[in-house]
Amino acid sequence: MKLPVSRCGRFKLLLSEGEDRELTPRESHFMERHRSTCAKCKREESSQFLSLNMLRAASIDAKPAAHFDERVIRLVKVQSVKESLNYWSPAFVGCALACVALFATLHVLTLESPSNSVKLKSGEAMRSPDAFPELSLKPLPPFVR
């Protein structure tokens, strides 16, 4: 349902729309007629015209500083290096960890382990007598015999 709009409300609406598009002859006629009958709307129209003109006149036509491009290009390069580092850093860390683990394994394997075997000339190994487990059997009680 379309709500009824007062004449002043319609005038304001068309005033704003008139800034962006050409009003139809009918709308222009309405504006003309209302302007001649409503002093308040006429004042509002002129104040809107002045305020918007002031606003447009206050536009800044700023230009970037002389080395703006170089600065941005340098920052883009830094950014891309950082990004590639961020991308590859998990791989680097994983690689480093794998290297450490490999080194540690090789180190452990090459260490001379304390052996309890006695090396013979023929290359055979024999357990050293110290390494034999000590057997201590308790004598059976007499009633078992």
């Binding site: 704003s16 509002e44 606003l55 006149a57 536009s59 941005v72």
Partner: protein, 185 residues
């Protein structure tokens, strides 16, 4: 400064040229990056200056917008959309800064309406703009100062055209009232 004319082929449509630069940027071509910066820097800095009313801050924002756009250029589906994407980032960054500034203004209440006398137009306009909500201010500046169409404003602010129309109507009305108070009509 980077001279875009050196890298612009004569007779090539600027939009097609930009598409080429965007696709070359994706593979890390620094010359294409320079060309894109040179093409958009002036307008970007001017838009940010009008929104923020501060040239140095505008340069910072333009720089940040370029960095963000180049960082996410790989995610861009359509090469034609680069300029719109860049300006949208810039406007969004400006709006974020304006919101922060506005919060500070509310806290310290430094924006008092002008009481009679004659002051520079720009100073009055800056004071009046700070009193408008960020969305209304951005819409008004993009339309009145940057002379963008409704569709362009809608694209930059990521809102429907109808919202732009209603915001603009409200912004003009509020700006007019503030202006009347300021000049003591």
């Amino acid at each position: 400064m980077f001279d875009v004319a050196k890298f612009t082929s004569i007779g090539i449509d600027p939009a097609a040229q930009e598409r080429q630069w965007v696709s070359r940027c994706r593979v890390g071509d620094q010359t294409a990056v320079g060309c894109l910066i040179a093409r958009h820097r002036n307008r970007l800095v001017r838009t940010a200056s009008n929104l923020l009313r501060d040239r140095h801050e505008a340069e910072d924002v333009a720089q940040e917008a370029f960095l963000k756009a180049f960082r996410e250029i790989g995610k861009l589906r359509d090469d034609r959309a680069f300029s719109g994407y860049l300006y949208r980032i810039c406007v969004r960054l400006c709006m974020d800064r304006l919101r922060l500034k506005r919060a500070e203004l509310v806290e310290f209440d430094s924006a008092q309406p002008h009481q009679g006398g004659t002051v520079e137009n720009r100073v009055v306009i800056e004071k009046l703009l700070t009193q408008l909500p960020t969305e209304l201010r951005t819409t008004l500046v993009l339309r009145e100062m940057e002379q963008l169409s409704y569709e362009e404003v809608a694209e930059m602010m990521h809102v429907p055209v109808g919202t732009v129309r209603s915001r603009l109507h409200t912004a003009r009305e509020r700006f007019r009232k503030l202006w009347i108070e300021a000049v003591g009509e």
